[in-house]
């Protein structure tokens, strides 16, 4: 273990210096312990090398939050229980997606967990995510460079039609799945959540890993979704983008309704 290799040079150093005060050994032990602890923290966290005391604090907070809010179903060591799956290897991205969209902690068991207001602050969510991410390797929180909506919207739209539209509908209006499950509407979904959903495959969604859709292609898809959010339909109100069903309903109720109203008015007898 790295711990032991670190300790030995530090521990041997004082012996070479001959004279020392009686307090020196205590001070040296103290220094040794701090260094050991620091090194342990340095090498045992995630791939990101920027390990600091703040990060350690985050993990501690995450651990506490996890025990208080998640462990009942997901197990004290993330191993999962009868009610919920193991969280080992789901990655920080998955936790951040599920918790910040309010899907977790779950309110009730049903065909799928619904989006609702998040119970945690961004900081708490990050703590939970880092904590779960620190336990096993999984998709990490995506880099900001893919989330700016600066990709190619046309390529993104094509990828979206091929990979996403069969569940989420071409306009991202959502759609039905089996047994009461559904693909939610994508309008107003943040770039971060869209990216995280693609790499972690929450609930019924498949995972689109980086070999399947590269990060820059994901950025293209996000660009298209942002384009849809920012630009209203060129044809007027979009009737929910549900296609011919809402168009037909609108025509029968309002179009034909208005016209029948007119026919009644035209043939009404003057009183």
């Amino acid at each position: 273990m790295r711990k032991s290799t670190d300790i030995s040079p530090l521990a041997r150093k004082p012996r070479k210096t001959g004279r020392r005060s009686p307090l020196a050994s205590i001070a040296l032990i103290l220094i040794g312990l701090v260094a050991t602890g620091g090194a342990y923290a340095l090498f045992s966290t995630t791939a990101s090398a920027s390990t600091t005391a703040a990060n350690q604090q985050l993990l501690t907070e995450g651990s506490k939050l996890f025990q208080a809010n998640c462990a009942t179903c997901h197990g004290m060591n993330l191993e999962g229980t009868q009610q919920a799956p193991s969280l080992l290897g789901v990655g920080a991205a998955s936790v951040q997606f599920q918790v910040s969209t309010g899907r977790m902690p779950a309110a009730a068991s049903g065909p799928q967990e619904e989006e609702k207001p998040s119970q945690f602050t961004d900081q708490q969510t990050l703590a939970l995510a880092e904590f779960v991410g620190s336990k096993a390797v999984g998709p990490g929180i995506p880099s900001k460079q893919y989330l700016g909506g600066t990709g190619n919207a046309a390529k993104g739209a094509e990828l979206f039609r091929i990979n996403c539209a069969m569940c989420h509908n071409v306009a991202g209006a959502g759609g039905a799945l089996t047994e009461g499950k559904y693909a939610p509407s994508l309008s107003g979904v943040s770039a971060l959540h869209a990216y995280e959903a693609m790499i972690t495959g929450p609930q019924n969604m498949p995972v689109f890993n980086d070999a399947n859709i590269t990060p820059s292609q994901k950025a293209d898809i996000i660009t298209y979704l942002k384009y849809l959010d920012k630009n209203p339909s060129p044809g007027g109100l979009d009737l929910g983008n549900l296609g011919p069903v809402s168009e037909g309903l609108f025509l029968w109720i309002f179009g034909l309704g208005a016209i029948v109203g007119v026919t009644i008015w035209l043939t009404a007898k003057a009183n």
């Binding site: 065909p111 919207a153 046309a154 993104g156 739209a157 094509e158 039609r161 091929i162 539209a165 069969m166 569940c167 989420h168 509908n169 071409v170 306009a171 209006a173 959502g174 759609g175 039905a176 799945l177 089996t178 047994e179 009461g180 559904y182 693909a183 298209y224 384009y227 339909s233 060129p234 044809g235 007027g236 109100l237 979009d238 009737l239 983008n241 549900l242 296609g243 011919p244 069903v245 168009e247 037909g248 309903l249 609108f250 025509l251 029968w252 309002f254 179009g255 034909l256 208005a258 016209i259 029948v260 007119v262 026919t263 009644i264 035209l266 043939t267 007898k269 003057a270």
Partner: protein
């Protein structure tokens, strides 16, 4: 403005006078003999009832379709040649697509007013079919398809089918993802026809689906053949409308031998002209404010992707619904031949359904044995069995139609798709039966109520104490005008089973007698003059007692 004119069947004579207009008219008439036409048309009488204007809505939306469609042909390219889109819609820039799709986008985003025209065309098409549907329901439920109008019903039905075909071919032209998926379903339906299916599909698409020919072929059908037949059939439809004249609802002075209403010139023509612009205006308003068929979202057709919530336009929905409701896995294989019954069965059932709709006038007149001319429209309640059959048909159609949106029903009402499908499958069978029974009882109940009101008048709520101490409620009698509407309908009896000249009863006659019995066994007889007089002699219906309603049973 309501100059009510009575027109006798056979036409009236226009008196001749001399004036400038008259001289001009004469000049034209001497060269075209148009006066005969004007005499016939100009004095055509239109009875005033809102439901009689639904056909006009269809006519006017068709005119709107013709006008906007012509505009669209100026810019649309019916070609499946592959091009790279380079127009102003950003999320499709640089994407390869057919010329049809590219020109549709060009038309929508780079031609001034193009998108509005496209949307007017599409909304008008939806309104066209919807108003035809409502018009047909009006004709059906008032019995206006009876002799001498059976042929016009059939022509109207042909117009309806042509409208569906026009709609579907038009929907497929932009070669977008949604319409391409729709075409793929049609391709599947065609291939599901035993033996000839695959060959027919190859013939239609010029090879394996999708090929490079279908858009051009559909375009020819959409702008040439189908509209030509449609306009011709429409001409015959209107000609027969003039020849047969309008039906009318029963009322004082309105008999089976006249038509009471407004003549076409000048009042009705002005009204109808105004109505055209109102219909046009409603369509333009919808097209201005509401997106229809956003092909830019669907993207170019590509056989691999599909979108959730893919549906045809509303009028093809019933066919889509039938495919969704048919139990999967039906079918069998003989040697190398697969019989895909889960595709073929809906075709057969829907085919039977629309054929029944087309020939209903002939079925009814055969069953009832009624060969008389009918120019008075029935109130639906006065033909309970027909109304009940109609209601059953409407429910059958409505369930199929609803099934086409099973996925959206599931997401929007938090249900499971499987649950929605199962419910609709059951409803498809049970719904029409329930609708038939309930409607028939409702009609008979309403007839009873009418009969009671005709005989006894309305309850006035005024209680009077007679000298003997007895309390009675005074009933308010109807005026003769009001009563007319309630009592003037025809009485039918089940056909008697009679042997023919050879003294035999054929099985067909027997079946007819049974059907006739079913049609008329439960009925309310109209109030007779005799009954009315009796009621008046009995003290103006002041006494209620056992009312004069009786239900006759046909099982003698």
């Amino acid at each position: 403005m309501t100059t009510t004119t009575s027109e006798t069947r056979g036409g009236a004579v226009v008196p001749e006078r001399k004036s400038v207009t008259q001289t001009t008219a004469n000049w034209i008439d001497e060269r075209t003999s148009i006066s005969g036409l004007v005499r016939e048309l100009g004095r055509k009488i239109f009875p005033d009832h809102w439901s009689f204007m639904l056909g006009e809505v269809a006519l006017y939306s068709f005119i709107v379709i013709l006008l906007t469609g012509t505009f669209l042909t100026f810019f649309f390219q019916a070609s499946m040649a592959e091009v790279t889109y380079d127009g102003s819609y950003l999320p499709l820039k640089g994407i390869d697509m057919s010329a049809a799709m590219s020109s549709t986008l060009h038309l929508s985003f780079d031609i001034r007013g193009g998108l509005l025209m496209r949307q007017i065309h599409h909304w008008a098409a939806l309104l066209f079919v919807a108003s035809i549907g409502l018009h047909m329901l009006r004709i059906f439920f008032t019995g206006a398809f009876r002799k001498p109008r059976e042929l016009n019903w059939v022509i109207g039905f042909v117009l309806f089918i042509l409208a569906l075909a026009e709609g579907f071919t038009g929907y497929s032209l932009p070669d977008d993802l949604l319409s391409g998926n729709g075409l793929r379903i049609i391709d599947g339906l065609v291939k599901g026809i035993p033996v000839i299916g695959t060959f027919t599909s190859y013939l239609l698409f010029g090879g394996e689906f999708p090929g490079t020919a279908i858009v051009g072929r559909l375009y020819t059908l959409h702008i040439l053949l189908l509209p030509a037949i449609l306009v011709a059939a429409l001409g015959v439809h209107l000609l027969l409308l003039v020849i047969n004249k309008h039906t009318q609802f029963a009322g004082p002075g309105k008999t089976n031998d006249n038509v009471v209403g407004v003549p076409i010139m000048p009042v009705f023509a002005a009204k109808a002209g105004g109505f055209f612009f109102i219909v046009f205006g409603v369509i333009v308003l919808m097209a201005t404010f509401f997106t229809i068929n956003p092909v830019w979202l669907y993207g170019p057709y590509d056989p691999s992707p599909i979108s959730a919530g893919t549906q045809p336009d509303w009028y093809i929905g019933f066919a889509d619904g039938a495919l969704r409701l048919v139990p999967s896995g039906l079918g069998f294989q003989i040697g190398d031949f697969t019989f895909a019954l889960n595709v073929f069965l809906p075709i057969v059932v829907l085919g039977l359904f629309i054929v029944l709709v087309a020939i209903y006038p002939f079925i009814e007149s055969w069953v009832t044995g009624d060969k008389r001319e009918h120019h008075i429209a029935d109130r639906p309640r006065n033909a309970p069995t027909r109304t009940a059959i109609g209601a059953a048909g409407v429910v059958f159609y409505a369930v199929l139609w609803a099934a086409a949106s099973s996925d959206l029903i599931a997401t929007h009402f938090s249900l499971t798709v499987e649950g929605v499908i199962l419910t609709l499958q059951i409803l498809l069978i049970v719904g029409p039966i329930i609708a038939y029974l309930v409607t028939k009882r409702l009609c008979i109940g309403l007839q009873k109520k009418d009969r009671e009101i005709a005989l006894h008048g309305y309850e006035s709520g005024r209680i009077v104490r007679l000298p003997g101490g007895e309390y009675i409620e005074v009933h308010e009698q109807l005026t003769d005008y009001e009563r007319w509407r309630l009592v003037s309908f025809e009485d039918y009896k089940p056909l008697m089973l009679r042997p023919n000249a050879k003294g035999q009863i054929s099985p067909l006659e027997r079946a007819r007698s049974v059907l006739s019995g079913w049609f008329f066994e439960d009925r309310i007889t109209p109030v007779t003059t005799h009954e009315l007089e009796q009621q008046h002699h009995a003290g103006h219906g002041a006494l209620e007692g056992d009312s004069g309603t009786e239900i006759e049973s046909g099982h003698h």
